[in-house]
Amino acid sequence: MVILLYILFGISLVYIAATEKFSNYIRVYTLQGFLLFGMALAERESFSYVNLALILAETIIFKSVIVPWLLRRILQGTGIRNVHKRSLAGNYTVMIMILALGISLLLARMLAIHTADSTFLVIAFFTLFTGLVLISARKLIFGHLVGFLIIENSVFLFSIAIGKEFPLLVNAGILLDIFIAVLIMSIFMTRIGHRTGGFEAESLTKLTD
Amino acid sequence: MTALGLILLTSLFIAGFIVRIKSVASGRKGPGVLQPVKNVWVLLRKGSVYSEVSGIITRTAPILVLSALLVASLMVPAAGFPPLISFRGDFIMFAYLMAFSRFMMIITAFDSGSSFEGMGASREALYGMLIEPALFVLIAGLTVFTGGTSLSTIFDLTHGEGYSYVFGLIVAYIIGNITLVENSRIPVDDPKTHLELTMIHEVMVLDLSGFNLAMVQLTSMLKFAIFGSLIASAVIPWDLAPGARISLFIAVQLLFASAIGLTESFRSRYKMNRNQQYILTVSLISVLFFVIILFTKNIF
C-alpha cells in the first residue's frame, strides 16, 4: 500500500518536471499533499490525536488547500495563464530527472542511516533534486515558487524518514514559518505579475554589476 | 708649502708655455711665456661690463670657482713635497672641489640668459660628469697599488710593491687626457675657435669681463698646474734629493705643457658628438690600469 504511494509520488514529480501549464502545477501539488499525508500516516509508529492533527494541518490543510488556493489567487489576480519558457528543453529536463533519480538511489544507499527508512530517503532526495532542477530549468518565477514548494515537500519527507518527534511548539513554529514564507512570496509574486505583466524571470535580472 | 709654491709657480707660466709651443709648431714666434699672466693682471684692474640680465651669480660665482680650485691645489703633492692639507680620503674633497667649481661655472654661464652660454654649460656639465669616473678609478687603482689613503701617499708610486716606471707613464697619460677634458682643450674643445656654437669653455665666459674673467682664467691656469703636478708626482721617484726633485718637477711640467701644445698643434678637434666616446675611452684606459694593478698585486 505504502509502496503505491511512493510510486505515485515519484510519478507526480516527473509530471511536474515535464508539464508547462500552471494549473497542472497546482493540481499536482495538491495531489502531493494528499500523498504525503498518506505516507506520514503509514509511517507513524505511535498514534495520538495531537500528532494526527499536526500532520493533517501540515499536509492536507496546508499543502492541499491553502497553498493551491493561494496559487490560484495569484493566477486569477494577475490574469496570467501559462507561457512555456524554459532555459532547458523539456527532454533534457526529463533526462536530468532520470539522472537525479539514479543519484538519489546511490546517495540513499551510501548514506543508509540505521535510524532512517532508506526508501524514504530515496524519494526525499529525488524530491529535493526535482525542486532544484525546477528552479534552475524554469524561466518563469511561478515555476521557481513551485520548485521551492517541492523542496519543502522534500524537507517534510526527510523529517518523516528520520522519524523525529519535536515538541508541538517547535512543529508549529516550522509550520508557521513555511506558511508565512509562501504567503509573502505569493504577495511579491502578485506584485511582480502586475508590474511586468508576466512571470518572466528575465525581467528580474537588472541587479548585476 | 714647497708643494704649493711649486704649483703656483708653474701655474704662472704653463699656459703661456703651451701657447709658445703652439706658435713654434706653426712656425711663428708667439707671445712671451708670461703673456697670460700679464693679461690677467690687466683684467684684474679693468672695470667690468655686466649683462643686463645677470645678477648676483655672475658677481660671485667666478670668485668661488677660483677659491675652490685654490683649496684643491692645497692638497696636491708636488713630487714628494707634502701638501699643506693631507688627510685620509683627501682626493675625494679634491675631486668634489673641482666639481664645485664646475657647478659654479655652469650657473655663471646661465646667469646672462644667453643661449650660447647655456650650450657650453650643457657640454661642460656632461663631460665633467663623464670624466669623473676615470679619475676615481685611477685613484682606486693607485690606492690598491700603493696602499695609500691620501693624494700625498697614493702618488708615491715607487714605494708600491712591484713598481715599474710604466705605471708612472700610464698614470701620466690618463691624467693628461683628463686635463684635456677638464680644461677644454683639443681634441675635446678648441679654445681658439671663433664659432660660439662649437665652443665649450670659452663660450661660457662670453659675458664675463674684468675681474671676473680674470678669476676664470686664473682657474684655468691653476688647473694645468695641478694636473701637471699630479703627473710629476707620479713619474718622479720620491726618494731623490729635494733639489733634483724640484728641477725634475719643473721639467715634467714643461714637458706636460709641450705635450699639450703639440697635441693642439697636430691634432684636430673631434666632432661634438664624438667627445663622449673619447671621454669613455679615457675611462676605459683607467679601468685597464686598474686591472693591471690587480694583476700586479696578485689580487686577481
Binding site: S136, L204 | P133, N273
Partner: protein, 657 residues
C-alpha cells in the same frame, strides 16, 4: 601606545572643533609641546641624561625604548616637521580659500598625527604597536597628500600611495610573524633570537621589501614620483625629508640583529642601492616637473643611504670596523642631511610653483630677481644635494667614499671589484646630481622669464622664508664643522652596530678637522677676492649692457637655452637605458608660411609602466572580465549552491580537504 592613540584622537578632535582662527595656533601649541617632549627624550638618550623616575616608568609602561638611533631619528623628524609646519602657515594660505574649512583643519590634524606616529615608529619595539604607528603614519600622510583633492589625479596618486604602503605593511607583518617563531609576542627584540637560529636572508628580505617600499628603493619606488607632485609642498618636504627615511630606520633597526648571511645581504644591498641611486638621478635629469624631479632625487638619495647601510653590514660581517662604522655613519648622516636639503628644496620649489602656478620648469626663468631668498635657499640646497663642499651633503658622501676606499685598499678580488663598481656608481651619481641641479637652478632662477608673467612674482611670505632659512643653518654648520656631528654619530654607529669591535675614532677626527680647514680657507679666499673686486669696482664703476648675442640684436627670452636642450645630449646617451623621446610634426615642403608647431618631449618610467602598472592593470582587468558570478539570475544563484555542494563533495571524496 594606548596613550599615543588617545592623544592622536584628542588632538584631532580639538583641532577640528576649534574655530578657524585658533586651529592653527592650537596646532602650533600641540606641535611645540610634542617637539619639546620628544627632543628632551632624544637628548637624554643621546647624552645619557637620566630622566625622572615617573617618566621612565611611564615610558617602559608604554613599551617605549629610546636608544641613540631612535634619538637621532627623533631629532631629524622634529626639525623637519617644525620647518614644514612653519612653511605651511604661509604656503597654505592661498589654498585655504577654495577648500572647506574643515578640510584644512583636518590637514593640520593629520600633520600632527604624522609627526606623532613617526616618533612612535622609531620608539616602539613591539611589532603590533610598531605596525599600528606605521599605519597611522601612512594614513595621515595620505590625508596630507590628497589636500588638493580637487586637482586632477591627486586622489588617484594618494590611493596609489596608500595601496603600495599597505602591501609594504603586509610584508612587514609577515616578517614580524615569521621572526616571532619560538618567542612570546611579536617584536624587534625577537630578531636576535630568530637570526641566531635561522637563515637571515629571508626575513631580512621581507623586512627590506616592506621598509623599502616606504623608502623608495628601485622597483619599490613607483609611488614616489606620483605622490610628491600631488602633495602640497610642505608635505612633500616632510614626506621626502623624513617619512621615507623611516624605511631606512627600519632597515637599520633590523640590521642591528643580523648574525648570518651578512656578506650576501650587505653586498646585495649595496648593489641594489647603487642601482637605485643611478636610476633615480638618471630619471630625475629628464623631468620637467620640478616636484617630480625632486621626488626622483629622493630615490637617488635613498640609494646613497642604502650604499652606506650595505657597507655597514658588510664591514661588520668582515670584522672591519672602519668600513662598517664609516658606512653606517655616512648612511645616518646622509639621512639627516637629506632631510635638511630635500625639505629646503621642496619648500623653495613650492614657493616658486605657488607664485607661478606651474610646476613645469620650462616655463620658468629669471625668478631670482623676484624671489632672491628663495633662490639663494634653492642654490644652497642644490649645492648640498649634489654633495659638493662646503655644505653638508659633501660630508656624508665623503664618509661613504672613505668607507669604500678603506675596503678597496684591503679586500680580495670579488669584494674589491664590487666596492669599485659601487664607488664608480657613487661617482656617477654625484656627477649626474651636479649636472641636474646646475640645470634646475639655472633654468628656474637665472636668465629671463620664459613665459610672460602677468605680474612680477613677489617673494614668498615671511613664514615661508623663515622655514627655508631654518634648514640652511644646520646645512652650513655641518658643512663647516663636520666633526660636531660626525664624531657622535660615529660613536653611535660603533656602539650600536658593532658593540663587540673596537673603533678608533681618531681615524675620522683628523679628516674632519682638515675638511673644516679647507672649507674655511675656501670661504676666506672667496671673501678676500670679493674685497679685492670691491676695491676694483670702487675705482671703476661697472657698466651694464646687453647679453652677447653673437651680433644678433633682437634676442629675446624665448631663445634662452632650455632644460630639454641642456639635457639633450645626455638624453641621447642614456636612451638605451631610459626611454625618452621627442615628438613633433616636421614642415612640409610646400608650406610657405608655417603654422603653429608643437614639440613634445617625454620620458617614461619604464619600471613603473612595465613592472608595476601593467601587471596591476592586467590583474584588475582579468578580475573584471571574469566577474560572472553576479548574473542577476536566480537560477544561477541556486546553481552555485549546488555546485558548491558538488565541489566540497568531490574534494572530500578525493581526500583533498
Amino acid at each position: 601606545m594606548f596613550y599615543l592613540i588617545v592623544i592622536l584622537i584628542i588632538t584631532g578632535f580639538l583641532l577640528l572643533a576649534a574655530g578657524k582662527k585658533y586651529s592653527l595656533i592650537l596646532a602650533a601649541l600641540f606641535l611645540s609641546a610634542g617637539v619639546t617632549a620628544c627632543s628632551w627624550l632624544a637628548f637624554s638618550a643621546l647624552f645619557n641624561l637620566s630622566l625622572p623616575v615617573e617618566i621612565n616608568e611611564f615610558l617602559t609602561g608604554a613599551g617605549i625604548v629610546c636608544d641613540r638611533l631612535s634619538a637621532v631619528f627623533i631629532l631629524i623628524i622634529s626639525f623637519t616637521v617644525v620647518t614644514g609646519f612653519v612653511y605651511s602657515a604661509g604656503y597654505l594660505k592661498p589654498y585655504t580659500r577654495s577648500k572647506p574649512e574643515l578640510w584644512t583643519k583636518l590637514h593640520y590634524a593629520a600633520l600632527l598625527w604624522l609627526y606623532l606616529s613617526m616618533i612612535a615608529v622609531v620608539l616602539f619595539r613591539n611589532g603590533f604597536a610598531f605596525l599600528v604607528a606605521w599605519e597611522i603614519m601612512t594614513v595621515s600622510s595620505f590625508i596630507l597628500v590628497i589636500y588638493e583633492y580637487d586637482k586632477k589625479g591627486t586622489v588617484q596618486a594618494g590611493i596609489n600611495y596608500l595601496v603600495q604602503m599597505h602591501v609594504g605593511m603586509l610584508f612587514l607583518l609577515f616578517a614580524f610573524i615569521i621572526s616571532s617563531e619560538g618567542s612570546e609576542g611579536v617584536s624587534f627584540d625577537n630578531l636576535q633570537f630568530y637570526f641566531s637560529r635561522n637563515p637571515n636572508w629571508l626575513v631580512f628580505l621581507l623586512f627590506f621589501i616592506g621598509f623599502g617600499l616606504k623608502a623608495g628603493f628601485i622597483l619599490l619606488h613607483t609611488w614616489l614620483p606620483e605622490a610628491h607632485p600631488a602633495a602640497p609642498s610642505h608635505v612633500s618636504g616632510i614626506m621626502s625629508g623624513v617619512m621615507i627615511k623611516l624605511g631606512i630606520y627600519g632597515i637599520l633597526r633590523v640590521s642591528i640583529s643580523l648574525q648570518d648571511d651578512m656578506y650576501v645581504i650587505g653586498t646585495s644591498l649595496m648593489v641594489l642601492s647603487a642601482v637605485t641611486g643611478l636610476f633615480g638621478v638618471m630619471m630625475a635629469i629628464l623631468q620637467h616637473d620640478i616636484k617630480r624631479l625632486l621626488a626622483y632625487h629622493s630615490i637617488e638619495n635613498i640609494g646613497i643611504i642604502g650604499i652606506g647601510i650595505g657597507l655597514g653590514i658588510f664591514g661588520t660581517a668582515s670584522g672591519n670596523t672602519l668600513i662598517s662604522v664609516t658606512g653606517y655613519t655616512g648612511a645616518i648622516l646622509h639621512t639627516l642631511n637629506h632631510s635638511l636639503f630635500k625639505s629646503l628644496l621642496f619648500f623653495s620649489a613650492g614657493s616658486v610653483t605657488s607664485r607661478l602656478h606651474t610646476r613645469n620648469i620650462e616655463q620658468m626663468g629669471g625668478i631670482m630677481k623676484y624671489m632672491p631668498y628663495t633662490a639663494i635657499a634653492f642654490l644652497i640646497g642644490s649645492v648640498a644635494i649634489a654633495g659638493l663642499p662646503p655644505f653638508n651633503g659633501f660630508i656624508s658622501e665623503y664618509l661613504l667614499y672613505f668607507s669604500l676606499f678603506s675596503g678597496i685598499g684591503e679586500l680580495d678580488f670579488y669584494p674589491l671589484l664590487m666596492f669599485s663598481l659601487v664607488m664608480v656608481s657613487l661617482v656617477l651619481i654625484g656627477g649626474l646630481a651636479v649636472f641636474c641641479f646646475a640645470k634646475v637652478f639655472s633654468i628656474i632662477f637665472l636668465g629671463q622669464p620664459r613665459t610672460e608673467l602677468s605680474e612680477p612674482p613677489a617673494e614668498a611670505g615671511r613664514s615661508m622664508v623663515i622655514a627655508k632659512m631654518l634648514p640652511v643653518i644646520p646645512i652650513v654648520i655641518i658643512g663647516i664643522v663636520p666633526a660636531l656631528v660626525v664624531m657622535p654619530l660615529a660613536s653611535l654607529a660603533s656602539g650600536i652596530f658593532n658593540p663587540a669591535l673596537p673603533f678608533d675614532s681618531a681615524a675620522l677626527a683628523a679628516p674632519m678637522r682638515y675638511i673644516s680647514a679647507g672649507v674655511i680657507l675656501m670661504v676666506s679666499f672667496g671673501t678676500a677676492f670679493v674685497v679685492m673686486r670691491m676695491i676694483n669696482e670702487r675705482r671703476r664703476t661697472p657698466v651694464t649692457g646687453p647679453t652677447w648675442g653673437c651680433g644678433y640684436p633682437a634676442a629675446n627670452a624665448r631663445q634662452q637655452y632650455t632644460a630639454t636642450s641642456f639635457s639633450q645630449e645626455y638624453a641621447t646617451l642614456v636612451r638605451p637605458v631610459i626611454k625618452n623621446g621627442a615628438s613633433h610634426v616636421s614642415f612640409r615642403e610646400d608650406e610657405i608660411f608655417p603654422g603653429k608647431r608643437d614639440f613634445h618631449t617625454s620620458s617614461a618610467d619604464v619600471i613603473r609602466s612595465k613592472i608595476i602598472l601593467r601587471p596591476a592593470n592586467f590583474i584588475v582587468n582579468l578580475l573584471r572580465r571574469y566577474a560572472v558570478i553576479q548574473t542577476g539570475r536566480l537560477q544561477h544563484y541556486v546553481l552555485y549552491a549546488l555546485l558548491f555542494l558538488v565541489l566540497v563533495f568531490l574534494l572530500t571524496v578525493l581526500e583533498l580537504i
